[in-house]
């Protein structure tokens, strides 16, 4: 597949062309072009992902045997805290929406930019400032934070480590997320090209739309919760201190009111990515367009009401357990509907298994495992046994990494030619994919099994009966890392030496493929008049 530009044909660098008026770096960090901001996010997010993954490898290495292996308990506790903070707040929350969303949202709806381009640049700057603050907490007084990414009080109020700075960094990151959400909602409502009706909106845009609402509505609660941690630490208010009439459970409620919807911020845009890729490579329109679109909204709405399933053993009332368990099962339904529609899209197609499709189909499988093991956690009786064990760690890595991460890689392989006008080596990409799938399952499936056997999470040391499964998991982490390294090398080579591609190498029907690769600075010379749906593949390449 793919029409490669012939030898001698003029290759344009589109928006990547330097302005020549100022140093090239300034061209980027002060650009209000949504495509450049998208790539700024992509580069920063990939950098933080590499750091987070390295820390993950260190954690696994420590756990290869009981007792001390490479670090002591204090450093280990800082490592898992840091791994969580980086992966959650710096990689997976901004991952797909901020990097791919920024780049693609205006292109897919036929606009020249987002509604507020300068606000968009500010969001990136806030993201970088927040990240620097959160990471500099490592080196400041008191040592690296050791609370876990959840900052549970009262411990987070008492520990002498540098929690305050990390919490403030996350607070700033929250604003970046809120502003991006606002920007996207406005853009989707106000900036669609003529003819781009709601029923012609690509499903990726639907998922960004649902996500943006969660970002705008839920993130302020995180912000206020973080302010309360700070006031607890600095002013000693005692809001969550039982000895002074406060309530430690209240903190958990406030934290999860944001942090559970946040997992849908992490997974809805990836679902949107998969909904884009599967039709193109199956050469069939998405099955049940309206059901896939509506299920995004349903997940965002129902997902905002299920936070209590993180607290079944916290000491909250049994009535609350009943209600939250029921609501948790309800959120499983729209997720299942999506999976069935994706599989049905394959029926009668003419399927090509290029790298983006392999990653997208793997998303469906890994996310199914994550979702089905989530049923164990939603059911009150079984939740009690596996709560706060390695089962939970394995489960959420299946959803967040197997889901979110693999969709991020799928998006990277799908839109890479659009971003850079070059194609990577598909054979190497397939090898990388295969290696990652094997490593991933060894790593996280072993974790779930060892959790079923009763190994608690956030354990620096463990009893000898857990050794074998931990060793398998650690070996899996090496294989996974090898696959990711291969993928990174393959894409970096392509960035330099990849074959040039034309506007529409995958013969897709959404609007971003009607402009050159890479797109020109203003996207569309004149705004397109949209005349067909996003998956009308017979009219691929037309507006």
């Amino acid at each position: 597949m793919g029409k490669v530009i012939q030898m001698g044909e003029y290759f344009r660098r589109g928006f990547l062309e330097p302005s020549g008026k100022q140093p090239a770096l300034f061209d980027w960090i002060f650009s209000t072009d949504h495509k450049r901001i998208g790539l700024l996010y992509l580069y920063s997010i990939c950098t933080f992902f590499a750091v987070g993954a390295t820390i993950g490898l260190l954690i696994r290495l420590e756990l290869i045997a009981p007792g001390r292996t490479i670090v002591g308990p204090q450093i280990y506790n800082a490592l898992f805290t840091l791994h969580g903070v980086i992966m959650i707040f710096l990689f997976i929350i901004p991952g797909v929406p901020a990097a791919f969303g920024n780049f693609l949202l205006p292109l897919q709806i036929g606009a020249r930019d987002v509604a507020f381009p300068r606000l968009n640049l500010l969001s990136w700057w806030l993201y970088i400032f927040g990240a620097i603050m959160a990471l500099s907490a490592l080196f400041g007084g008191g040592g690296a934070p050791d609370t876990g990414w959840t900052f549970y009080l009262p411990f987070a109020g008492e520990t002498t480590t540098n929690v305050s700075l990390a919490v403030f960094g996350v607070f700033v990151l929250g604003f970046s997320s809120i502003l991006t959400g606002l920007n996207f909602i406005t853009t989707i409502h106000r900036m669609r090209a003529p003819g781009m009706t709601w029923s012609r909106l690509p499903l990726f845009i639907w998922s960004l739309y649902a996500t943006a609402w969660v970002q705008v509505l839920a993130t302020p609660i995180l912000a206020i919760t973080l302010v309360l941690i700070l006031s607890e630490r600095v002013l000693g208010l005692g809001l969550f201190d039982a000895a002074r009439g406060g309530d430690p459970l209240m903190y958990q409620h406030l934290f999860w009111i944001y942090s559970h919807p946040a997992v849908y911020i992490m997974v809805l845009p990836p679902m949107g990515v998969v909904s884009e890729i599967i039709p193109v490579f199956a050469r069939r329109p998405i099955f049940g367009y309206w059901f896939v679109a509506a299920s995004s909204i349903a997940i965002a709405a129902a997902g905002s009401l299920v936070w209590g399933h993180h607290m079944f053993v916290s000491g909250m009332s049994d009535t609350a357990v009943l209600v939250f368990s029921l609501l948790t099962f309800i959120v499983a339904i729209p997720s299942a509907v999506k999976v069935f529609n994706w599989v049905a899209t394959l029926y009668g197609g003419s399927i090509r298994l290029d790298a983006p499709m392999l990653f997208a189909l793997t998303f469906v499988l890994l996310f199914s495992i994550g979702g089905l093991t989530g049923l164990i956690l939603g059911s009150a009786a079984t939740n009690v046994h596996v709560h706060d064990t390695h089962f939970v760690v394995g489960h959420f890595h299946y959803t967040m990494f197997g889901g979110g991460g693999f969709a991020f890689f799928a998006a990277l392989h799908y839109w890479f030619p659009k971003f850079f006008g070059r194609m990577y080596n598909n054979r190497r990409a397939t090898w990388a994919w295969g290696t990652m799938v094997i490593g991933f399952n060894l790593l996280y499936f072993s974790m779930m099994v060892v959790g079923m056997h009763g190994m608690p999470r956030r354990y620096y040391d463990y009893l000898p009966q857990f050794t074998h499964l931990n060793q398998i998991a650690t070996i899996g982490s090496w294989i996974l890392a090898l696959g990711m390294a291969l993928m990174a090398v393959n894409l970096l080579i392509a960035l330099r030496r990849g074959q040039h591609v034309g506007a529409n190498p995958w013969e897709a029907a959404t609007l971003e493929w009607t402009v050159a690769s890479p797109p020109p600075p203003e996207n569309f010379e004149e705004l397109p008049q949209v005349s067909h749906g996003p998956y009308d593949l017979k009219r691929a390449g037309e507006a």
Binding site: Q74, D241, L249, I286, S379, A381, V384, D388
Partner: protein
């Protein structure tokens, strides 16, 4: 079916089997169909996509309704199992669990305390859980029970051990530096042995008392008696007049005395011994004057390890 008549293990494992069973079938179905389609409709076998409708209302309704019924049954089954976990049989033997950074202490109605959870076989036990500092969580995988220890609250779990044996007990709510060492065990004794154990008087005075207090207050989780290094410095070589180098500087040191030990217990954030860090919680307001003096008496006597022996079941 009256849920409270079920043992915790029985109640929970049925739900595990039910959900895992259905999940496995669903997963195999999804994977199987996906792989079958990917092979059957691969472009090499199927070069032109079929023109079939891309929406179908009854299919959508079917695959919304069936999962709804399935997950609702899981919800209800899980809730029934949960009721078995929270409804304590009336004849349960009461024990209090006290969690602190980073040890457990179990208090029996007779006043006897133990660092291990000693229970009788075949009789239900109810454990009321309290915390003295941050959040902890009491987890006994063998009996499928877990509940957080929350400061200012009393939570509870119950279980019935069918036979004698020894089982692991973990803390599963992250509680700081030595979270992973906050492990003890459940010792299930026969009814007769348990009765005897319960009636064995704890040593009331002297060395035994001091040793018992160290256990009761959780000191031994971090400080060894035999010279081994744990989270904090060992008690083994403590003796009046000994000089201990401090973490502050290469030539700062302190002389061990009653006063120094008292400061270290009530105000442990200062005078940190070289090689260790300031992680110990303060015991001010948590320990009575008599207990404090008894502990100091014990700490200053030579050969502590042998002095008290093992007052274990």
């Amino acid at each position: 079916m009256t849920p409270t008549l079920l043992d915790t293990v029985e109640a929970v494992d049925k739900v595990f089997l039910y959900i895992f069973g259905i999940s496995l079938v669903l997963f195999l179905l999804i994977t199987g169909v996906m792989v079958a389609f990917a092979i059957r409709f691969h472009h090499s076998r199927h070069p032109h996509p079929k023109d079939v409708p891309s929406t179908c209302l009854w299919l959508e309704i079917t695959w919304t309704l069936i999962p709804t019924l399935i997950v609702m049954s899981m919800f209800w089954y899980g809730w029934q199992g949960y009721l078995s976990l929270v409804n304590v049989p009336p004849d349960a033997f009461p024990i209090q669990a006290v969690a602190r950074q980073w040890s457990w202490s179990f208090v029996y109605p007779s006043g006897r305390t133990s660092p291990k959870l000693v229970v009788p076989a075949e009789q239900p036990v109810r454990i009321d859980i309290v915390s003295e500092d941050v959040l902890h969580s009491l987890y006994i995988p063998a009996f499928r029970i877990k509940k957080d220890a929350v400061p200012g609250m009393t939570t509870h779990v119950w279980f019935r051990a069918p036979q004698t044996g020894s089982f692991d007990l973990f803390c599963t709510e992250y509680c700081g530096l030595a979270h992973a060492s906050m492990i003890t065990s459940v010792e299930v004794l026969s009814a007769a042995d348990f009765k005897t154990w319960l009636q064995t008087p704890q040593l009331a005075a002297g060395a035994g008392k001091g040793r018992q207090l160290l256990e009761q207050y959780g000191c031994l989780a971090c400080h060894s008696l035999d010279g081994g290094t744990r989270i904090g410095p060992s008690f083994a070589k403590l003796a009046e007049g000994e000089k201990r180098p401090l973490a502050e500087g290469p030539d700062k040191s302190v002389t061990v005395s009653r006063d120094y030990l008292e400061r270290s217990i009530l105000d442990p954030g200062n005078e940190i011994v070289q090689g260790f860090s300031a992680v110990m919680p303060s015991y001010r307001d948590k320990i009575g004057e008599q207990d404090l003096q008894a502990i100091i008496d014990f700490l200053l006597q030579p050969d502590k390890d042998a002095a008290a022996g093992e007052p274990r079941p």
